[in-house]
Amino acid sequence: MFEAVAFYLFAFLTIVMFYITVTTSQALFALTALAAGMIFISAFFFILGADFLGAVQIIVYTGAVMALYAFGMMFFDTTRKVKEKNGNKYIVVGLATLSAVMVVAIFMAPIVSTNIQVFYPEIEGVGNTQMVGIVLFTKYLIPFEVAAVMLLVAMVAGIVLAGKKMDLSLTKMNAEQIKEIEEKDKKVLS
């Protein structure tokens, strides 16, 4: 009974939150609803007994949405409504419906044809944290390592992009040196 109540409660909350995310024109509402929705999704993992994935869902998405807030802070006055540029509404609605139907079809197809197989049956007496580890380092080792390499590439690229002039510190310079640098920048820009 508890599981049913929890499921319907969190299903309702998640749908409401994501509905707010896509319909509101207030950046702060959208971000907050997105964060809340992502955290509510973790409840489904807990209901299914996948505690580890649930906790990871909370940790990962709080961090991710926090970064989105930082961008929101930079690009918008978050206390005002954003004027959205609405193109052809029919195209937007059509594409959105089509992609939603396709996603549902992709996930439902194996269930309908009862074609789902369990490659790695549950091992007795092993917690789900260990199970995730076992599957990651046997069946999914190559995707796991590829993802790690891709993240490393992204990190190196990020450092290269952001790391220009990292050795300079404006607080340690006097006014003339700062002026010199500013003039140099002007030449580069013009």
């Binding site: 907050t32 505690d51 909370i58 940790i59 961090g63 926090m66 970064a67 929101g72 802070m73």
Partner: protein, 327 residues
Amino acid sequence: MDNAYLIETIIKVVVILLIFSALAGIGTYFERKVLAFMQRRLGPMNVGPFGLLQVGADGIKLFTKEDIIPTNVVGPIFKIAPVITAATAFMAAAAIPFLPSFELFGHEVHPIVADINIGILYVLGVMAVGLFGPLLGGMASANKFSLLSAARAAAVFISYEVVTGLAILAPIMMVGSLSLIDFNNYQIEHGWIVWSQPVAFVLFWIAAFAETGRTPFHLIANDHEIIDGFGTEYSGMRWGLFFIGEYANMFFISFVIPILFLGGFGDGSVLGAVALFGKMAFFFFFFLWTRAAWPDVRPDQLMWLCWKVLMPVAVINVVITGLVMMF
């Protein structure tokens, strides 16, 4: 699920909520007294014996003060932000064992709301959500100083979380479980983890200061701007909720550090339980001591410390632990 379990859980939740919201109030009294003695003042003296009733006076003031919602703020977000801080602090407490299990009227009581097998991960994750409170409060406030404070909250968040995660990884590798009760039981057999993982202990301790937003990482509510950062526009009980959240977080992290590194409640005797409270009191006192003794750092200094010093040290610690465990 039987009814006895349900009733027991509800009682535990209510007890934890009541005790720790009261402790948060008394925590402010301790903080004032400790700071006062370290700065050669008297602290609160006038209300009640030794100023003990000051807590009640503050409570009455907070509860009866008008709840002002300024114009131009984003109303719903502004109202919900303090609740996030307070609620997540108490949600995190669900996986913390406060005492060893004991018998009460012939019924065995486990003083932990839910012994989930990912305890420490859950506690740290939910505590991290608490930082959304200052962030949202600052961004919704329509006040430039609050917005700056929200930006600093984001900076604090992205710096400390990696350090906590990596610092705790080495002890987790040794224990082989994420449950706080398993941590406690491991330390009964093998001795305190702090002796085998001193680096992880220090790193986690430093990160705990950033996590609770205490001096020297008290950048969220920036004191040297004279105003209260994200709390500038708040009044009455909404501001009080931020405070309750912060102090409850301090208490909970002061419980988590001894359970992880300093033997927790030991073998479950009365002495062990008292020892856990003693350790908790020491860590709580240390928060106040640091506040009296150290200045705040700048946000860029915090990020430098976390990313360029603490994170590499934590990674090296994990690698060395792995090598030692392998051979």
